[in-house]
């Protein structure tokens, strides 16, 4: 974890169009022990611009991990995931699918597109908080995330 502090906060991109879910995720992350910065994008197109630091996001920091909803306006989560994996600059990014869908077809498709994991949003607050905490514990504390040199 000390490496983490040396390297600055973990940059999380949350791609989610439901403001309620955004708030729930932020509330659950509030008590996080890991220094982090969450940026929220409400549609897939904007999310890709942000990740590529294009347009209005030229000064955006490099993202360390993406929390991605599947059903999004403009470009949906599957398209965003496919684009990330097809882009040499982004392909290393850990992508966590966080969605209401429990459909077998969505789960299979997401892993075929090389999602790092697939999580169905639990229905109650306790479950949701527990999931966000576990994701945080696993992805921000336990695993090592790839870090590219901050400027190339």
């Amino acid at each position: 974890m000390t490496d983490r502090i040396d390297a600055g906060p973990v940059e999380i991109l949350l791609v989610e169009d439901n403001p309620g879910d955004v708030r729930l995720t932020l509330e659950a992350m509030k008590e996080s022990k890991v220094l982090n910065n969450i940026t929220v994008m409400k549609d897939g197109g904007e999310a890709l611009l942000y990740l590529r630091r294009q347009g209005p996001y030229a000064d955006a920091p490099r993202v360390d991990i993406v929390l991605l909803d599947l059903n999004l306006p403009v470009r949906d989560g599957r398209e965003v995931l496919a684009e990330i994996r097809a882009d040499p600059e982004l392909t290393h990014l850990p992508v966590v699918i966080l969605t209401t869908s429990a459909a077998e077809a969505d789960i299979l498709r997401s892993y075929q597109l090389h999602a790092n994991c697939y999580v169905t949003k639990p229905f109650d607050l306790e479950g949701f908080t527990a999931v966000v905490r576990s994701l945080e514990g696993f992805w921000l504390s336990i695993v090592k995330l790839p870090r590219l040199d901050s400027d190339d």
Binding site: N18, L24, T100, E104, F123, D124, L125, E126
Partner: protein, 277 residues
């Protein structure tokens, strides 16, 4: 005209007339029958269409209702968690009612979704080992079984034609029902199956509170509940789902019961070794 006709000639004419009248009547009857058949066929098509629409409606309604409800439920729970004891007694009460209402509605919507999913694609009717389905049901009910100290026994069960996951759900709902409506003694439940022509007739016998015979049809209706909500929580869909699963496989479900003397739920499912005619 009658002059010179013999008796037998008159008889022949009379018979010919009668024959022609009968022929006309028969043609008329056939036309009526044909018309009625066509009408019945069209009514049947309409009915099938209406049923499909209703299923589609139930599916979409329950699926799409989940999303906003999840918001209501999550945020009232958050409100309860953060502000309990910090407003006043009334506020705590109101929040508790909202949380409870949202939780119950979630249960109902989940069950309605399960109900409308019976018979949807990937639930093909195939040969299913009822023993396996039974064990899956038991493992899903582990918590409830331990908590109620239920004693569940079963005979060797046959292979039948049903939806694979649906048969497990059928056992789960019937066992869950038997445990929920238990009396003062720990539940004792026995599952048996006997061959009945081309089908198997299953029975699920319990030692629960039973019910008056005039309720035995109603309990399979959607959202029908006989007990109070406080004492017997649930959506009132468990037996409706069970009925739908059985009927989709071409079987029948019914109950024999007496207040205070337990219930026996029966259902039939086609045997997998054919004989279906």
């Amino acid at each position: 005209m009658a002059v010179g006709q013999t008796e037998s000639e008159k008889e022949i004419i009379r018979l010919k007339r009668q024959l022609s009248r009968e022929r006309k009547a028969r043609i008329q009857a056939e036309e009526i029958a044909e018309h009625a058949t066509r009408e019945l066929y069209e009514k049947n098509l309409d009915l099938n269409r209406a049923n499909r629409d209703l299923e589609q409606f139930a599916y979409i309604a329950s699926h799409d209702l989940q999303e906003p409800l999840r918001m209501v439920s999550s945020f009232t729970q958050l409100l309860a968690k953060r502000y309990r004891g910090r407003l006043d007694k009334d506020a705590d009460d109101f929040i508790a009612f909202a949380v409870d209402g949202a939780r119950r509605m979630q249960g109902m919507i989940n069950d309605l979704l399960a109900y409308s999913r019976v018979g949807r694609p990937n639930a093909d009717i195939v040969p299913v080992d009822a023993n396996e389905a039974y064990h899956r049901a038991i493992s899903n009910l582990t918590g409830t079984i331990e908590e109620s100290a239920a004693d569940i026994t079963h005979d060797a069960l046959p292979v039948v034609r049903a939806g694979n996951a649906e048969l497990a759900r059928l056992f789960q709902n019937l066992l869950g029902n038997a445990i929920k409506f238990r009396g003062d003694a720990p539940p004792k439940i026995h599952i048996a199956a006997v061959r009945d022509g081309a089908a198997w007739r299953f029975s699920v016998r319990d030692n629960g509170i039973g019910m008056p015979m005039d309720n035995r049809e109603k309990i399979f209706d959607l959202f029908k509940r006989l007990g109070s909500r406080e004492k017997y929580p649930g959506s009132g869909l468990g037996l409706a789902i069970a009925k739908r699963i059985v009927e989709r496989s071409g079987g029948r479900i019914w109950v024999e019961s007496e207040p205070g003397r337990g219930s026996i739920f029966f259902f039939t499912l086609p045997a997998s070794d054919g004989g279906c005619s």
